[in-house]
Symmetry: C2
Subunit: 381 residues, 2 copies
Amino acid sequence: MTSIGIVSPQSMHFAEPLQLQSGATLADYTLVYETYGTLNAERSNAVLVCHALNASHHVAGYYLNDKGEKNIGWWDNMVGPGKPLDTDKFFVIGVNNLGSCFGSTGPMHTNPATGKPYGASFPVVTVEDWVDAQARLADRLGITQFAAVMGGSLGGMQALAWSLRYPERLRHCVVIASTPKLSAQNIAFNDVARQAILTDPDFHGGDFYAHGVVPKRGLRVARMIGHITYLSDDDMAEKFGRDLRAGKYQFDFGVDFEIESYLRYQGDKFSEYFDANTYLLITKALDYFDPAREHGGDLSKTLAHTQAQFLLVSFATDWRFAPPRSREMVQALVNNKRKVAYAEIDAPHGHDAFLLEDPRYLRTVRTYYEQVWQQLRKEAA
Amino acid sequence: MTSIGIVSPQSMHFAEPLQLQSGATLADYTLVYETYGTLNAERSNAVLVCHALNASHHVAGYYLNDKGEKNIGWWDNMVGPGKPLDTDKFFVIGVNNLGSCFGSTGPMHTNPATGKPYGASFPVVTVEDWVDAQARLADRLGITQFAAVMGGSLGGMQALAWSLRYPERLRHCVVIASTPKLSAQNIAFNDVARQAILTDPDFHGGDFYAHGVVPKRGLRVARMIGHITYLSDDDMAEKFGRDLRAGKYQFDFGVDFEIESYLRYQGDKFSEYFDANTYLLITKALDYFDPAREHGGDLSKTLAHTQAQFLLVSFATDWRFAPPRSREMVQALVNNKRKVAYAEIDAPHGHDAFLLEDPRYLRTVRTYYEQVWQQLRKEAA
């Protein structure tokens, strides 16, 4: 297994307006994306990889900066030559979502209607809006049907939305560490994070770009909250426990415990690069995702609209999107006699496990894609 | 069962300095407290009730404001005539802890050394410091030995600290929904809350009193985070689910979901009355509590120093201080051949359950105190 090596992002502009779920319209937009591997002659081996909250189109391979340091893709252990999603076989696309801060049109870009940054006026986008925008990219790349659409967490929601919105355009749907909808507790955590940003005096109602400031305090707290929910209680206990930075209590409000140091560092780092409006938009997309809503909450009825085959994976210690959320989807798919494979991985790393090296997890995904590949070869023969 | 009726707080000044765990000294201080019932001639029926994070000495009965509205004590369902802790039998004391914002000496009071409010210079106090201050109050009230010391959550830590620090001064120790130490995840939540306060520009390094402002934004976020951890996921799902305030998505960052409305309301209310320095101090006392620390983490060795009999109660859906934390204490007490009763209540309300009406829970405590009372009567006879 080797890395894809150095990769570079591409971008595509879409001049036709995008109708959004909210009723608003995005006049035009650009999507930034990366591709790995080669699209075959039948155009049948494309896999779309959807990203989660703070990730991007940079799924695999790496960029090199001026100092020769590697910026490695967020799912590089999953995607590459000889890796579970094997780029020697599949043509893999990573695409940055609308509203993001990594290149695709977002709140920091100029609103053509005003000549100023969108800021707070960037429309609230949904998982379904992202999928619609991705579908247009697929059109332009000449991909009528994906071999698979795949994602973890919020990315898994996009894969699921693909299976519902464009059922004939994907043969396989890979949904990892995800959920068909957020719980009240999930929404609560998102809302506290948003409140931290919205009430930061440097937020300026979302128009902080014009003020030359960044609501770092809010972003920092938001990230710290998020991070707690990504790790399991056990994993935190294992990694940090009650370890003290200086071996004894300081009796002040600086750093006492290693866990404090770790979280503050994560918060600081995040607040340096992430956009506050993007954070609001993405958490809102998470909150709103609930495809069963228009079917009276009946997930079986909802998933009757799918045509794909499914792989679902959940992680035992993920308390953000715990295994029962995946089992609910599996059950609803089984109720519809869909082909579905499901693995529940007993990993200690909480929600973050979907990004980490776990041999059982990676083997599960590898085996699934090997079958997808065999299927393609059989049909081509 | 009736209410104690109208109650009023008393206060006691302590002129002798209090040596704190940090090495600092509090020159003098005042404790505000309430008592209910009558101390018997033998002075043997006193029960000390210790409070948790945002509570106070106002345990039971009520105050009446100018409009005739009742301000009811935080454990009024537990303490009163004919109630589980029966004030017809016991003399109950509620005392406000040092550093609080409800009357006892705290950061908003004048530092005699400077003539200005303590603010950030109020010393970091520990559970053990509180217990030492409470012991002096007991001395002044002429109580050599309590029939019981009791508390829930942080209050339970105080009861446990009493059993270790003054083993001969309590016959029973009642520890509800508590833990012998915080986990990394518990500390993480506390630290995010503190960071929200510390980075609020209105905090002014703790000296906001002088600036005529209050760091409400930070307090609000802190309370919202705390509140999520007090409720169970199931309870939130049951009470709020994904219910929408206006029946449909708003596509903005106002209130969409009922859970958002609830949490923001709780945060707003809290930020109106709670002191930011107190919040920092109390969460730090929580983080620091770890009596086994000086015994190499061995809880059995630690609890060998107790002499009291114990009642412990935990709640199945409490994920803040989950039942295994109580079981750990029970096991350590059993290892020391201490008399210990333990109830694990299958209540759906998370950590907050210790404040709520649950017949099984209240019956458990009632039965325990009836035995304490029988013991006292037998000895008096």
